[in-house]
């Protein structure tokens, strides 16, 4: 029966139908729902790993053991997993292994917009690129066939618009695949002597895959009425080309983006007067065409910055396209903000008040950088706050002591903050790390992690104790504060910064959006007491505004956290 499915759910369905029985992933927008959806099939073991490297190595282990396996991640997660990626390319697989990676062109929820297709080429691993949910399901299944036929891990590359768009799929049945582990030291033990013998195998495999790319239906030519122009495209860009141009010009749609065919592209190019490459982000297909000595139009016309959109295709390919009317005057932007009642707010207010240099990290609390809090100095990648503060503080030879903190979330700390903390203990930093523990992986939509006590399926499981963990690596000063209590936060931060050794403060309160969190009644403003001093406005709470010179609390948003109350010296903010 036809169903409407997110691209990510369709990948999950593909995993299920292909007989995949082991999934290990780390959440990351826009990849997260693949793993959440596959966890609903009881036939598939699925878990959240602490990071993408662990997930990929676990998936490799399962493949080695004879089970079809998968790991999913966002584009920057593939950087974390790049180490195993390049060497699993050499060992190949036992049972099929598929790696899902989702790019975020336009950076809806990311810190960069790298193009993951380069990894396929660099690691010499085939990559499939579906353009809608039906293809996401089919390509995922085919990825396992390619993986086993060519003895290679296979990348399935998604992007925001394929991952987060629902389109129609027709689900099929699951076929169980159970293999056996076979010991094979020359294949699986990548020490130099063996790896030297595997590298030529990888090169031969790429040649065989190139021959496959010539024949496979993954790469198809769709005829067009006019051969004045021919377009090579893939993924969501294909949909935009068809949206704008329909069947006007011939299209070579690449479903297998690495390795790319040579003969097929040459023949297609020869059949049209002008070769145009339409692709999102970098000129990856274009580069291949130029390597083949083919003249083409590509990134000179289509930017390598941001998402490609249908309008751009229309404008660049001279297709008439009318746009709607614009309203007179400025429309103020609406950037994302910390939610009303967010436990991070009180902490960042305290950091700002103390005029500290804050090395931030990846999560909802990155929003601590947004005005009016503006309390974050740098954000790079997962874990960089802890490693970064070590370098910052050491290089300042004491001058940064007492003025600098790192802020990292519970899930991000488990992902890659812990190794930075080991470095701080081992190499004796004098700096303070604040773990904002909201008992969930928040930004990606509430995923469990090793500190929450629940697994991906929602079942109770082992819970990492952050205090013990920090003490075990050698941090002697570890304390817990409630970020709803500003005085307590302030005192703890002052004391830890004054200490002459590294310390950890755990700012602990569950995310206000968690279903089990009980909220208090919204606060109200005593307009007789309120003088409109805006003290309550310093925290950037979306539930408070000043209207006609008085504070006003939006009762639909306020959860009664009471932080604004602590800032009001006149007692104008009251519980009902």
């Amino acid at each position: 029966m036809k169903q409407l499915m997110l691209g990510n759910e369709a990948v999950a369905r593909g995993l299920f139908e292909a007989g995949c029985s082991f999934v290990s992933s780390y959440p990351g927008t826009p990849s997260t729902e693949i793993t959440e959806a596959v966890a609903k099939y009881p036939e598939v073991y699925a878990e959240w790993a602490p990071n993408e490297k662990v997930a990929m190595e676990a998936a490799f282990g399962a493949s080695l053991a004879g089970r079809r396996s998968f790991c999913g991640m966002k584009h920057v997660g593939l950087n974390v997993a790049a180490d195993p990626l390049f060497t699993i390319s050499y060992t190949g697989v036992n049972a099929g292994m598929v790696i899902g990676v989702a790019d975020d062109a336009g950076m809806h929820s990311s810190q960069n917009e790298q193009d993951s297709r380069h990894y396929a080429r660099a690691a010499k691993i085939p990559m499939l690129e579906p353009s809608d949910s039906a293809e996401a399901l089919e390509f995922t299944k085919q990825a396992y066939e390619i993986s086993e036929q060519f003895d290679t891990p296979v990348l399935v590359k998604m992007c925001t618009r394929v991952s987060h768009s629902q389109s129609i799929v027709e689900p099929g049945e699951r076929v169980e695949k159970i293999g056996e582990y076979k010991k094979d030291i020359p294949k699986y033990v990548m020490m130099p002597g063996n790896a030297k013998r595997r590298h030529p195998v990888v090169e031969a495999r790429t040649a065989a895959l190139t021959a496959y790319a010539e024949e496979t239906e993954l790469n198809r030519i769709e005829p067009g009425a006019d051969s004045k122009m021919g377009i090579i495209t893939s993924s969501t860009s294909y949909q935009y080309v068809k949206e704008v141009l329909g069947d006007q010009y011939p299209v070579l749609k690449l479903g297998m983006i690495w390795p790319m065919p040579e003969k097929k592209i040459r023949e297609f190019a020869a059949s049209v007067s002008l070769l145009v490459i339409v692709e999102e982000l970098d000129g990856f297909i274009e580069g291949h065409c130029r390597d083949l000595g083919l003249a083409c139009v590509g990134k000179a016309n289509f930017s390598n910055i941001g998402e490609l959109m249908p309008l751009t295709v229309a404008q660049q390919l001279s297709t008439p396209w009318a746009v709607g009317a614009k309203v007179d005057g400025e429309i103020p932007p609406r950037p994302p903000v910390m939610c009303a009642g967010c436990p991070h707010r009180g902490l960042f207010y305290t950091l700002k008040k103390n005029k500290l240099t804050v090395l931030g990290d990846i999560g909802c609390y990155t929003l601590g950088a947004v005005a009016p809090l503006a309390a974050v100095d740098t954000v790079i990648c997962m874990g960089a706050s802890v490693s970064g503060i070590h370098g910052f503080s050491k290089s300042q030879q004491g001058k940064a002591d007492g003025k600098t903190v790192a802020v990292i979330g519970d899930s991000t700390f488990m992902h890659s903050g812990i190794t930075g903390l080991v470095n701080m203990a081992y190499n004796e930093s004098n700096a303070t790390v604040i773990i904002v523990d909201n008992s969930i992986t928040g930004m990606t939509g509430h995923q469990q992690n090793p500190t929450t006590g629940f697994n991906l399926k929602g079942d109770p499981c082992a819970k990492i104790d952050l205090e013990s963990l920090c003490r075990a690596v050698g941090i002697r000063r570890v304390r817990v504060v409630d970020p709803y209590d500003l005085a307590q936060c302030d005192a703890a931060i002052k004391e830890e910064l004054a200490a002459n050794e590294p310390s950890v403060i755990i700012s602990r309160r569950p995310c206000a959006l968690l279903k089990y969190v009980k909220h208090k009644a919204p606060l109200t403003v005593d307009t007789d007491k309120c003088v409109g001093c805006k003290a309550c406005m310093q925290i950037g709470c979306p539930a408070i505004s000043i209207i006609d010179g008085k504070a006003k609390v939006d009762a639909t948003q306020c959860v009664g956290c009471g932080i604004c109350q602590q800032l009001c010296k006149l007692g104008a903010l009251k519980e009902v």
Binding site: Y240, K242, M338
Partner: protein, 190 residues
């Protein structure tokens, strides 16, 4: 059938994902090709959010670009004004007149524009503005704004009220079914 395009815009957290889910359920049983494109992640935290719903004989692009939308359903007034360029000539904006200040306005770095409905009309836009929040509260919860708006949108299509109600049944938990049905009817009759 030529592809129909509906954009649902609003503020992250207002419940646009449920509205698009409802439309998806409704359209799937009618045999259309459908694409629904959503935004997950950071912008869901109080930022400007947009969902695209497209249906017809064959739908390619998952997104609606400028000049393509037959309908823009806006959960908030400023957000309606933000997306007018996406409207097709002859298209319509259905807007909840509720105002939610964005952070630049809250902290005084920008002004919330005045008379936005008038300004949209002055630009030649067909605007259908009404207070969906009050109707949602009347139905029993301010959170039902999304279904009130779907009820109002439904007036523009030939689908029967029964078909819409069936889609609501498939989209909301039984506990909230009555509330949502009431919200839908209030929106449809508004």
């Amino acid at each position: 059938m030529e592809t129909k395009n509906i954009m649902i815009v609003g503020v992250g957290g207002q419940g646009s994902l449920l509205a698009s889910k409802l439309l998806g359920k409704l359209l799937l049983t009618r045999g259309y090709d459908i694409k629904v494109s959503e935004v997950h992640g950071m912008s869901q935290r109080g930022g400007s959010v947009v969902t695209y719903v497209r249906f017809g004989d064959k739908v390619y692009s998952p997104v609606i670009d400028q000049g393509q939308a037959d309908y823009i359903v806006s959960f908030e007034l400023l957000e309606a004004a933000r997306w007018t360029e996406y409207l097709k000539p002859g298209g319509k904006i259905i807007v909840n007149t509720q105002k939610i200040n964005p952070m630049p306005v809250v902290i005084g770095a920008a002004q919330y524009p005045e008379n936005l409905v008038q300004k949209m009309e002055n630009a030649g836009i067909n605007v259908d503005a009404f207070d969906a929040l009050s109707l949602a509260e009347q139905a029993g919860s301010s959170k039902a704004v999304n279904i009130v708006l779907m009820g109002h949108l439904s007036r523009n299509f030939d689908f029967t009220e029964g078909q819409w109600m069936e889609a609501i049944e498939q989209s909301v938990p039984p506990k909230f079914l009555e509330l949502n049905k009431k919200a839908f009817t209030l929106g449809r009759n508004a």
